[in-house]
Symmetry: C2
Subunit: 350 residues, 2 copies
């Protein structure tokens, strides 16, 4: 009665048998007499025995648990990916613990060390916007803990990852804006540290080029993804001598915050300025007018990343991606056209 929980030793003592036998009975080892097994299982149930995963993980160095690290989860993007991951992992008998970094590099490093020190069997990661040093990721690899990245992938690391074609999607989005007759397309880009930022901007640039629209540096701003900055930058755009007639935003929260500024200034969307976002957050369909955006298959991204991680974990000999090419899966996106880019007459009634 010294501790509040039951151990196999308690059970062994009560039944007057050895803890080895109790362990065998509980884990379903075949070489246990039916009579004994039944006695053990019954007593375990009445004593509310529950296996101590710490002890087990400690001795076996594997925990049947994976971690998922996301930079934030106030938009629906990451939660929805997580649900996809849990889906596959639960079916495969793994537990999933979630770590949320609040876009803080410090949190990312400490959470990575937390997961490693708890001997998780694998980690799915999308890094923060502050992350420029990837030592904590290579540390995991050196420890033999498989990593799979999604969405935000460190571009100078050769790691398994699941992404969408940001370049192509951005290209299409901007081409759509040009297609409805816009010539002065602004771009609110994300932080330079994210590979998405660079690829989406390249898509933007190349779409302009293809359609013979000269690149105007005044219409492109990188920012840190905070709402205050969107407002400042969007006001700046609108105060230009010849303001933009369209905006391609790095993501939906950016687009929505920008739309607020446009509406506050009394301008009309899409007549005065058309807007396109990215990711098809839940809010994109709610905002007025409905936001045209690039839909990402979020749940599929999660499921695919989970399956990829399962493959990595099952590899008897750990794959060494310093010498061989890491697997990459690219999932399709889809441009969802809503009122924020629908020219008059074509607009759906609401």
């Amino acid at each position: 009665m010294k501790s509040k929980y039951t151990t196999i030793i308690d059970i062994a003592r009560q039944l007057n048998i050895s803890k080895s036998t109790v362990s065998r009975a509980l884990t379903g080892h075949p070489n246990v007499k039916e009579h004994t097994r039944k006695a053990v299982l019954e007593l375990a149930a009445t004593m509310e025995y529950q296996r101590n995963s710490l002890a087990l993980g400690f001795s076996k160095h594997t925990t049947n648990t994976i971690g998922i690290m996301v930079p934030e989860f106030m938009s629906t993007y990451f939660p929805s990916v997580i649900v996809g991951v849990q889906d596959v992992m639960q079916a495969a008998g793994y537990n999933v613990v979630i770590c949320q970094q609040n876009e803080s590099y410090e949190s990312e490093v400490s959470n990575m060390k937390l997961l490693l020190s708890y001997c998780v069997d694998g980690i799915i990661v999308s890094h923060t916007k502050e992350t420029r040093n990837f030592d904590h990721f290579t540390l995991a690899q050196r420890r033999g803990v498989p990593l799979v990245f999604f969405n935000r992938v460190p571009d100078d690391m050769n790691v398994p990852n699941v992404v969408v074609n940001d370049y192509e999607a951005a290209f299409q989005a901007v081409e759509h804006l040009i297609g409805i007759g816009r010539k002065r397309v602004a771009h609110l880009a994300g932080p330079e540290s994210l590979v998405n930022t660079r690829q989406r901007r390249q898509g933007y640039l190349d779409a302009l080029k293809k359609h013979g629209i000269p690149y105007n540096p005044d219409l492109v701003l990188s920012y840190d993804l905070t709402t205050e900055k969107v407002k400042i930058y969007m006001k700046h755009f609108l105060d230009l001598e010849t303001p933009p007639d369209a905006l391609f935003a790095i993501n939906d929260p950016t687009a929505i915050a920008a739309m607020e500024v446009v509406k506050a200034k009394g301008l009309r969307i899409p007549e005065d300025i058309a807007v396109v976002g990215f990711s098809n957050d839940f809010s994109a369909q709610l905002v007025y007018p409905g936001l045209t955006t690039v839909a990402q298959p979020t749940a599929d991204i999660g499921r695919t990343a989970a399956e990829m991680l399962l493959t990595e974990m099952k590899a008897k000999v750990k794959n060494d991606y310093t010498i061989k090419k890491a697997p990459t899966v690219q999932l399709p996106t889809k441009l969802i056209i809503r009122e924020s880019t629908m020219i008059k007459g074509k607009a759906k009634k609401r």
Copy 2:
């Protein structure tokens, strides 16, 4: 070189000292010679030593980690509470792992056992809509692991919890609807299993009673919080011989889904039917027209729950809530009035 990570034994061997001394040096025990300490810390750094938390937790039966269990996180409510929890817990030096149940009772039970088997030091919980059996919670208590509930609190358990006054908030919300002249206020309630459902409904009923509006059972429906059901029930309301002129919804996603139905039927909000939600999700301000709703101090709820849990964990002698009253904190709500209940003329321009 047999295993991929460094242990204190490796360090001890290399320096030709005992593992006890290494342990002391690493944990900052005062009785270690400065020279020795320096040597250990240096070697630990170059060997990338990292403490095995499993071993530590296993021997000390405490892990400096707390768990938080939420039923879902596709709305902004739970993520925002979690951020509040992390805020306080990180400052207090605790790690936070998040478990998401997808509103599944099974997940809840298995995640609870997962957290217990990993010896977390405490758990913050909001239970799923399916949860009717609370054995997995009492199990935690019997193990001596403190629990703090928020939002959804099991009502026949005496447990520390952080809530808002659902009754009062609902009462005010419905009174507001009556105040703008509505007589036929419908209520889309949640599942009977949630205490919020019952309290908000009681607030609804009492507000009607206070203003002499007879209760009409046709205008109240409980449902399971799935989007499909909202559509069916809302259509049902609108097809009544004398349909409602206002709706009080159990939460914002419900209100927003209901608004879709209203708009699809060509009815105007708020002219034909005014709508009030609950919780002030991020989407409440985005939807058109803006949704009147009861704001909850989500981050504060998280912070308060975290502080309450810290108190519970620090209690030398575990509080036994079978004999004494558990602490409860009730935080204030605020009715946010937006276009969905603004009668003509008063409506803000958009």
